[in-house]
Amino acid sequence: MQEKYTENIDQLDSFYQDAFQEASIEPPTEMWDKIRTSYSEQKKPTRFFTKKTTTLLLLLLLLISAMGLFLYFKNTKQQEKTGTVNKEQDGRNKGTQDGELNDNKETEAEKREDTNKETGNRNKQQVEENNTKETGTGNDKLEHNNSTENPTSTVGDVVKNPTPVTLGEEPKIKPDTASLPKETPKKKMSFREKHTQNIKSDSLRPLFVPVK
């Protein structure tokens, strides 16, 4: 009984399989038109996010983010550098401002001394020349007026009011302070002026300053 049942089942399966192997039932003729209209209505919308577009977008995003990060780090580094340089510069400026004032005073005093010495030497030479001229005429004592006697002489230009000179004595010559450059009184700088000066000097400073 069981054998017959299984045999029947096998026969049933193979019978149906054979029957449906090449089964074909023609659908109604209007079917194609229905399919065509339905397909054109349900056509797949063109996808924007295809593989190509997504990869391109991802690459673009990566590039932009990398550039952003690069610029960000670059700016922060620059700010750090300029910050340290400014501090150094401020320190230097503070030191030099005090020092400059003293230096200027010293240099001016030195200049004055130098010019005094030069003019003194010149006067001495002139007086000596005059004396030698006068001794050549035979006068022991002579009231000397260089401006009238020797108009071409340049000494007269320097010494306008000559004092009477006796031989053997050194002439007392006052230095001509009028010909010297006048010392302009140092103008006191306000905080704002100093600050603007610093800014101007900063703006001229190169962006990349090698840190020693």
């Binding site: 019978f15 039932i25 023609e26 079917m31 399919i35 339905s38 397909y39």
Partner: protein, 183 residues
């Protein structure tokens, strides 16, 4: 491969090629649709939707396999999804009522054998019909059927056994020529 050129043209949205492809497959796919439903109108609707799915997914077809097999698989998968939507699995048909129905069917001596057999298959309850179609006629394993229908493999085997019993009974009652071959 006879379908290769047609597929290429169909992908280029050539209506003539699409019609040619339809002509080659329509009869076979309609036979499949008719095996899963008693209602002819429903089978026509399923065929229409299946073809739309085939045309829409044509770019996914890999040339290494059979195009006809691929198209049949798309159709069957679509039919199963429709089954799931309509939740027909629960319906159980009484065998006596099936036999009564079968008596009203056309004679077993019909010229078109498979159309008659389709009617016999459609006399089965929905779940059993589905398992019988998938296992015997589509060649799915019980594991695949279990996954597709979301049932256990044992349940699939049980449904198939019952479907076979019922079909034998139908053939006996109809006293068909085929029954003579089977018994």
């Amino acid at each position: 491969m006879p379908f290769t050129n047609l597929i290429q043209k169909c992908l280029a949205d050539d209506p003539a090629a699409q019609k040619e492809l339809y002509k080659l497959l329509a009869g076979k796919l309609f036979a499949i649709c008719l095996r899963y439903t008693k209602n002819r109108q429903e089978a026509e609707d399923w065929l229409q939707d299946s073809f739309v799915k085939i045309f829409q997914n044509l770019d996914k077809f890999k040339a290494d396999g059979s195009f006809e097999g691929w198209a049949k698989r798309i159709t069957v998968n679509y039919l199963i999804s429709e089954y799931r939507k309509s939740k027909r699995f629960g319906s159980v048909l009484d065998l006596d009522s099936v036999l009564e129905l079968s008596e009203t069917q056309e004679s077993a001596h019909s010229a078109i054998l498979y159309e008659e057999l389709i009617k016999f298959i459609n006399l089965l309850p929905e779940g059993k019909k589905l398992v019988f179609n998938l296992s015997v006629l589509e060649g799915y394993s019980h594991k695949e059927i279990a996954e597709l229908l979301n049932i256990t493999e044992g349940a699939s085997r049980g449904q198939l056994a019952k479907a076979r019993e019922m079909l034998i009974e139908i053939h006996k009652k109809n006293n068909t020529v085929h029954a003579g071959k089977i018994y």
